[in-house]
């Protein structure tokens, strides 16, 4: 139930047994089914979710109700709306379950307790937020400066898991093209 979390922590920091026990008992294990919501637009994001198994995705809805996918999270990844989490303001995003998932959820109070009482967790959190910032910046650069073909190629190179596990219409939304354009790009890419 905690394997991926332990692995993720160990990749970046070293924890004593006591620190790991404190971390472990601070998370709420939650199993969720496909299409359930972890967070809906209008609520304040008060929790951070770690994916032990399965997949989540976050998106906003445009005026016509179409999904604009912001990001995905697979095993070993974190998911939250950090903007709402850090500012305490209602989120404009939805976080939905893409595949039946096993999550570990950390509320703000326990997150702050861990930051204070477990120094390696603070370091770990800094690295995770740093990586998230780099990924976000890269995503903005990709969105602004690449052609549909380049975006798709980069996606395949960087995140091959996308191809098998994410429906095409969500990939199209994620890279900001219409499903028809994605279909054309995929056709030419496969040739």
């Amino acid at each position: 139930m905690y394997e991926q979390l332990k692995k993720s922590l160990q990749e970046h920091v070293t924890l004593s047994d006591k620190e790991w026990e404190l971390c472990k008992h601070s998370f709420r294990p939650k199993r969720m089914l496909k299409r359930q919501f972890l967070l809906q637009e209008g609520d304040v994001c008060r929790e951070l979710a770690f994916v032990e198994k399965g997949a989540l995705y976050s998106y906003s809805l445009d005026m016509s109700g179409n999904k604009r996918v912001i990001r995905f999270a697979f095993e070993g990844w974190w998911m939250a709306n950090l903007q709402s989490f850090f500012t305490g303001k209602p989120t404009r995003l939805n976080i939905e379950v893409l595949e039946d998932s096993e999550l570990l959820i950390l509320d703000r109070k326990n997150h702050e307790m861990l930051l204070e009482q477990v120094p390696p967790y603070e370091r770990y959190h800094r690295i995770i937020v740093q990586n998230a910032y780099v990924a976000l910046q890269r995503r903005v650069e990709n969105a602004l400066g690449l052609t549909a073909e380049e975006k798709y190629e980069r996606l395949i190179a960087e995140s091959p898991a996308f191809l098998n596990r994410v429906p095409q219409h969500l990939i199209a939304s994620y890279i900001g093209v219409s499903p028809e354009t994605l279909s054309r790009v995929r056709g030419s890419y496969n040739r």
Binding site: K30, L33, Q36, F37, L39, Q40, D43
Partner: protein, 220 residues
């Protein structure tokens, strides 16, 4: 009240209190997971919920561990004497979850509580689930009160006790959805008082024939 639906597990949903709670919150913004060790008990409940709340998001479950794993809030609607065995089955998936203790540990003759004077059913439950947020609630109301929470023109009070502030707010919303006036009585050590209040109400109900439809109301 949050927009995102919370999942509530009721373990012992086929009993009189479990089914009364399920029916009273089925119309709220909750996904309900109902489990009973005797699944036959759930048969009528399914129909009763559908009749009253056709849109209710209700699911009947076959395992207490799976049920609790999917839940945000777990209601133990079972007698206190079987709670320990149940907590052994769900402990690993109840971590950091709100667990509601509704039990009143009264003896067979309704004469006294079976717990030691310096503790309560809720505090014992907290010992058995050390990483959960145990909240005392729904113990000062009879099952019939859920059908008619307004008695003699007054909305029945429902007392809540616990140590986690956010959990107390979450349970207050649940109590309000069930039709009662929630009153946060204090931390978990207040549970003993709440359990004794219900022992007294049971004794007075028998003595004065309140027909198991009675409740507490603070007038001020």
């Amino acid at each position: 009240m949050s927009i995102t639906k919370q999942t509530v597990a009721i373990l012992g949903a086929g009993g009189s209190m479990g089914s009364a709670i399920a029916k009273s919150i089925a119309g709220g913004n909750y996904r309900l997971l109902l489990f009973d060790s005797d699944p036959k008990q759930l048969g009528e409940l399914s129909q009763q919920i559908r009749d009253k709340h056709p849109e209710a998001d209700t699911h009947f479950m076959s395992c207490p561990h799976e049920t609790s794993w999917e839940a945000d809030i777990i209601i133990l609607a079972v007698p206190h004497e079987v709670e320990k065995e149940l907590t052994d089955k769900i402990r690993d998936v109840a971590t950091q979850k709100v667990v509601i203790s509704i039990a009143n540990p009264v003896d067979e003759d309704f004469e006294k509580l079976t717990t030691r004077p310096d503790t309560s059913a809720a505090e014992e439950l907290q010992e058995w689930l050390p990483h959960s947020k145990v909240i005392k609630a729904f113990n000062t109301t009879f099952a019939a009160d859920f059908e008619q929470p307004v008695i003699d023109g007054k909305q029945t009070d429902a007392f809540i006790a616990g140590d986690d502030e956010e959990a107390l707010i979450i349970v207050s919303e649940l109590v309000e959805t069930a039709g009662f006036n929630p009153i946060i009585a204090g931390d978990l050590t207040v549970s003993g008082t709440l359990e004794r209040m219900q022992l007294l109400l049971i004794q007075l109900t028998i003595k004065n024939n309140y027909k198991w439809h009675a409740g507490w109301k603070i007038l001020h």
